[in-house]
């Protein structure tokens, strides 16, 4: 009892922290004993794919068909995923864009070597309100609309109505792809609505008669109308055979070539079972 004074509370707090640590570690340790863990984080576009595949994997593992492991999947965005990978807190980073030069540099400094595996493809569909009479656009018209040179539908053969341009916020992987393939280095008109998710774009276009937006193939529904681009309609078939130009690869990044548990999971993603999940979710399977 002589350890009083200022140190008393500090010692007590420290003791509390240590005891709770042991308590919780003990609990979870007992539950997951002998199982290996795999944590995945990153792009919200890939999140539903990874979640569904992880569930499928653990389901099969429970039936003894695959080696058991505990898989946790979290979102946060491509940047967050890659950062977490470089910090060594996760095993696999999901990214809807290739790693950037600055990130590679950071990885080198830390002695890491991030390696991409393409796990699926995603087509980017250009959507309008169902009441719009336009059937399709070419890339140049699309660019002119997004940069502000064309601002009424009548200039591209539609009704006399002003165009409400809807884009994704500039940091999203979907935007980066759109920027590369359509805008080719020019800026989006600055009165464009910038929405934070594919779902928000789809909902807003469905409710706004003059709107144009772009979303991943998985977000198409009868509430919006997908346009043909250069006379090719967006679908899994046209993305696979390369006719539809607005598509992008989706990546999983690992430390070096996948190995051990990481390899087992990525192999499963690339397997027939994994790619079927990709297809069911509206994305484009490989090959």
């Amino acid at each position: 009892m002589k350890v009083r004074g200022l140190w008393g509370p500090v010692v007590l707090a420290a003791a509390l922290v240590i005891v709770t640590q042991f308590y919780f570690c003990g609990l979870s340790g007992a539950r997951t004993k002998s199982r290996e863990r795999l944590s995945i984080q990153g792009s919200t576009t890939i999140l539903p794919i990874a979640q569904a595949i992880a569930e499928e994997y653990m389901d099969l593992a429970d039936r003894g068909l695959l080696p058991e492991m505990d898989i946790t999947v979290r979102g946060g965005g491509s940047g967050v995923g890659i950062t977490a990978l470089l910090d060594g807190t996760i095993d696999i980073a999901m990214a809807s864009r290739p790693i950037k030069p600055g990130e590679i540099e950071r990885a080198r400094k830390k002695g890491f070597n991030p390696v991409p595996t393409i796990i699926a493809k995603d087509g980017i569909a250009v959507i309008v309100h169902p009441s719009n009479s336009i059937k399709g656009l070419n890339i140049e018209q699309l660019k002119a609309i997004y940069t502000g040179q064309i601002s009424t539908w009548s200039k591209v053969g539609g009704q006399d109505k002003s165009i409400v341009v809807i884009s994704r916020d500039t940091a999203s992987g979907t935007f980066e792809t759109f920027k590369k393939l359509v805008l080719k280095g020019e800026k989006v008109r600055n009165d464009a609505l910038m929405l934070a998710s594919n779902q928000a774009v789809a909902t807003t276009v469905a409710k706004t008669p003059g709107a144009i937006g772009y979303v991943g193939l998985g977000y198409l529904s009868e509430r919006v109308k997908a346009l043909e681009i250069d006379k090719v309609e967006p679908s899994q078939r046209t993305v696979v055979n390369g006719d539809y130009k607005l598509s992008r690869p989706l990546f999983m990044y690992t430390h070096g070539e996948p190995k051990g548990m990481t390899k087992k999971f990525i192999d499963f993603v690339l397997s027939l079972a994994g790619q079927r999940v990709v297809k069911d979710l509206g994305f484009v399977p490989l090959g």
Binding site: G76, G79, I82, G173, M194
Partner: protein, 284 residues
């Protein structure tokens, strides 16, 4: 012994809060200052165009600052009459028994998560605004202001009601004794007497409106331009940070610029809070 121990523990907890604040401030400065250095402070604050992923990137946050301030200002215009009216009604007009029912209901509004407000805005208010004013889109400055205004009513109303109730009864009775009507007493005695509390309430509501993120991300539309009309889509500072932080590569200029926005916002809110303290000190 036991009491002694707890007494010693309490300052530790109080001290911890300070530590967290210090830590957050420190991080904001460390991560935000490189952007000021790279872009230049004035160019960053007064730059008119925000194209963080363009080649070369442009980091001007004036449209974002003006959106934040503008939306907050309009939210206050909507919230102040509503909350002052309800606070005066609750504390001076109705019977204490009804007050006991009504006040918790208003305070309950404060407990609704902001994402729910945002959802309400997208599904209900935005289409309404779009139809009513015949706009191309309902996600506008006005929509965001209305929702924020509703969100801060409970904060302002509840604190204003406390301030009004704290006006001593003797003063009111003296006013009645001099022959003033109830209305005259309220407008010329009670409200001026509670004014420092009311101003504090308004400034706290203002701080909340300015820091609100989810709602404005969902309903403000997100166009990065200087607002010229209340029917345009805008993008407040908080929405920009929330929308872009996830994908910005760590350590990139874009990443530091987002922290610098947070730093600017933090300083703005800090100024409001200091104002609150200063006013309540001066009036006391």
């Amino acid at each position: 012994m036991k009491k002694n121990f707890i007494e010693k523990l309490l300052p530790l907890f109080a001290f911890l809060s300070c530590l967290f604040l210090l830590g957050i401030t420190f991080t904001l400065f460390i991560e935000g200052l490189p952007a000021f250095k790279a872009v230049g402070f004035w160019k960053f604050i007064f730059g008119k165009s925000w194209h963080p992923t363009h080649e070369p990137p442009e980091f001007g946050i004036l449209p974002l600052i003006l959106s934040s301030l503008g939306v907050t200002f309009f939210a206050l215009i909507i919230a102040i009459p509503l909350s002052l009216g309800s606070a005066i009604y609750i504390s001076e007009v109705i019977s204490p028994r009804i007050k006991e029912i009504l006040k918790p209901i208003i305070e309950l509004l404060a407990g609704i998560p902001s994402v729910v407000y945002g959802f309400f805005g997208i599904v209900f208010l935005a289409p309404l605004v779009q139809k009513m004013f015949n706009l191309p889109t309902g996600l506008t400055f006005l929509t965001a202001s209305i929702i924020l205004g509703i969100m801060i009513v409970p904060t302002i109303a509840s604190l204003t009601e406390d301030a009004i109730s704290a006006v001593p009864r003797e003063i009111k009775e003296a006013s009645f004794a001099l022959g003033a009507t109830k209305w005259e007493t309220i407008t010329q005695v009670v409200v001026p007497g509670a004014s420092s509390g009311i101003i504090t309430a308004i400034l706290l509501g203002m701080g909340r409106a300015m820091g609100e993120t989810m709602t404005v991300l969902m309903v403000a539309g997100g166009a990065t331009m200087i607002p010229k009309s209340i029917f345009q889509p805008v993008r407040p500072m908080t929405a920009t940070i929330a929308a872009e932080m996830g994908e910005a590569p760590m350590g990139s200029p874009h990443y530091h610029a987002l922290f610098a926005i947070a730093l600017a916002l933090f300083l703005l809110v800090l100024i409001f809070n200091l104002l609150v303290d200063w006013i309540s000190l001066k009036r006391r």
